[in-house]
């Protein structure tokens, strides 16, 4: 995957993703953070498409942009204090340790990647992810995981609904 158009697409999408990610963690207005997160998810979906995983990419759009980002937005609105603007404090000296640790983690991973020459193997172009194959793999080899996910999602649905429900004591 080294054609010019692909490189341009990669540069565009990755810069969009990075920019959106920086905006999502760095902006002071929390609503903007949430929207940047949605853009970030779109970018990641684009990266998936670029990598040939169409199915995963659209699932990512459907689940993250359509559901998770919107859910986060709902919660942002529901937890907005009435009297103050939805602004967070900006960067302070107290946040320096966080920055340092994050940078440390990045450095460590970066060094690890750079020191692994085996990653730079040239691989033949594989066929795109076939949905048929994914479906068959899901219901054959990964059936148990699929079931477990189903149970987990049901439990999460019920649990979230119970949490969010107005209790008799609350309010």
């Amino acid at each position: 995957m080294n054609s010019l158009s692909e490189i341009i697409a990669f540069l565009l999408i990755s810069s969009l993703t990075l920019g959106a990610a920086i905006a999502a963690v760095g902006l002071r207005n929390i609503v903007h953070c949430g929207l940047s997160l949605a853009v970030f998810f779109v970018g990641v979906a684009g990266l998936y498409l670029l990598l040939g995983a169409e199915f995963i990419g659209f699932i990512q759009l459907l689940v993250y942009v359509g559901a998770v980002a919107v859910l986060i937005m709902f919660v942002i609105l529901l937890t907005r204090p009435e009297d103050e603007a939805a602004k967070l404090p900006g960067l302070r000296w107290r946040q320096l340790p966080g920055v340092l640790i994050a940078a440390g983690v990045f450095l460590v991973i970066y060094l690890a990647i750079m020191r692994s020459p085996s990653l730079l193997r040239d691989v033949p172009e594989p066929a795109a992810l076939s949905i048929q194959a994914v479906g068959e793999a899901l219901v054959s080899g990964h059936l148990l995981a699929l079931m477990a996910i189903g149970v987990l999602l049901t439990a999460a649905l019920i649990g979230a609904a119970l949490f969010a429900m107005e209790g008799e004591d609350g309010k």
Partner: protein, 459 residues
């Protein structure tokens, strides 16, 4: 400022300047459009080469009306390649823009037409005439509307989040337009033959919600925000039955690609009943479910309470005017057209003719006929059914439509394993009918129908 006799020169120019100063967006759009038209014309006039190829392309297209658009495009590309010696990447780009241009033109016209037809039909339903002043039968009303929209002032409220306020209509429109890219208009005529087309459609539908949120939040208006929140909740809720109904078709045709789904509906039983999915028990139920959820998904009546004007002014569009409002308007109509197009592809056999001896009519015409019938149906529903109450709306989605969706999937599975014959008919009809009756009973007990009581003179 009163015009005076002493300033004849400026008086003549000022309206144009005022227009440009107040409406930079419209001016820009108009300028770009003018530049495109003029530029293309000039290029064409300067460099008309190899007219034989152009004629050949036209003849080709005329010889096979069923494939006319495709052949025309190929001929034009051929002409550009040989006559103008375009580089491959230029050809690719031209091809893309030709498709986009055609789609925009066709759907632009349909959108304009629909905005008029809707008003006319609604008017007839309500025993009125509807717009009939501009042009014959009011036919130029859309143009007048467009001009009015474009020259209106673009209001941005104080305290609004300006960036979001601007981006919202664009984010609404883009997914709506993108949907058009994967609709199978005719045999081999889908602009993009995407293997996961259905998924793409739903992913784009999900993206629209972000736009609604941006509009609602960016306007800094409580009506906008409440309307947006309602709208999002409604869209998320109705996306599930929409998906479930589509899933039954996906299960039966074994593909996520709209093309393959349309191909799976080819052929006729007894040589006059087409093999459309809508003519099976589960398919019929799925189509009704899909269409109902589609009405809710595109915020149309009777599910239009996010913008119910009696309580929320215009929902998330309250603070929009002028060009941005027009974009919203367009996004909504294009979204309706797209979703109806999907309903046609999934259940109504796409571009297949309803009867064997009608197959000489080109497939894309059938597609648009079916598409427009569904749009008319939506307009009819809008003129007939009153708006639902908020709690009824959500209850209907979660307590009726989603369980029905599961029942339809079950019925489709039974149909598949019964092999379609009489047994499949009976079994899947029973599986659809039983939950329908049971759930209908539950819903009608929970939300009993009663006379609406109007209290005009109280309070």
């Amino acid at each position: 400022m009163l015009p005076t006799e002493t300033q004849p020169q400026t008086q003549r120019i000022r309206p144009a300047l005022n227009f440009a100063a107040r409406r930079p967006w419209c001016t820009l759009a108009l300028l770009i459009a003018a530049a495109l038209v003029v530029g293309t014309g000039v290029l064409f006039l300067l460099n008309l080469k190899a007219p034989g190829l152009l004629t050949a392309a036209l003849m080709d297209a005329l010889s096979d009306p069923g494939q006319a658009p495709v052949l025309l495009k190929q001929g034009l590309l051929n002409y550009l390649e040989n006559g103008w010696s375009f580089a491959p990447w230029m050809l690719e780009l031209t091809s893309i823009f030709m498709v986009i241009g055609t789609l925009l033109a066709v759907f632009g016209v349909i959108f304009a037409l629909t905005s008029l037809v809707e008003r006319k039909v609604l008017a007839r339903i309500q025993n009125r005439f509807g717009p009939n002043r501009v042009g014959p039968w009011g036919l130029f009303q859309p143009l007048a509307d467009a001009v009015k929209m474009l020259i209106k002032e673009d209001i941005v409220p104080t305290g609004a989040d300006k960036v979001l306020h601007l981006l919202a209509p664009i984010i609404m429109l883009v997914p709506a337009l993108l949907v058009l890219a994967i609709l199978p208009y005719g045999p081999g005529m889908a602009p993009i033959e995407l293997g996961v087309g259905i998924l793409f459609f739903f992913a784009l539908g999900a993206t629209t919600e972000v736009g609604v949120f941006m509009a609602g939040w960016g306007s800094n208006n409580k009506y906008s925000l409440i309307g947006a929140m309602r709208s999002i909740a409604q869209m998320i809720s109705y996306e599930i039955p929409l998906f479930l109904a589509a899933l039954s078709v996906v299960m039966l045709s074994g593909s996520l690609s709209p093309d393959a789904i349309v191909s799976a509906q080819s052929g006729y039983a007894f040589s006059f009943v087409p093999h459309w999915f809508v003519f099976t028990p589960w398919g019929f139920a799925g189509f009704v479910l899909f269409f109902t959820a589609a009405l809710a998904e595109s915020n149309r009546s009777p599910f239009d309470l996010p913008e119910g004007e009696s309580e929320l002014v215009a929902g998330h569009m309250t603070e929009y005017s002028g060009f941005k409002y027009a974009v919203f308007f367009m996004a909504e109509y294009i979204g309706l057209l797209g979703i109806c197009g999907f309903a046609v592809a999934l259940f109504l056999g796409g571009w297949h003719a309803p009867l064997p001896w009608l197959e000489w009519i080109p497939g894309y015409l059938w597609f648009f006929i079916k598409l427009y019938s569904l749009v008319l149906l939506a307009i009819w529903v809008r003129g007939t059914v009153p708006r639902m109450r908020g709690d009824h709306l959500m209850g209907f989605a979660w307590k009726f439509m989603i369980p029905m969706g599961f029942a339809i999937i079950l019925a489709a599975a039974v149909w598949h394993y019964a092999g379609g014959g009489v047994l499949g008919w009976v079994a899947s009809a029973v599986i659809v009918l039983m939950p329908y009756l049971a759930l209908g009973r539950v819903v009608s007990i929970q939300y009993p129908a009663s006379r609406r009581v109007y209290r005009f003179s109280e309070s």
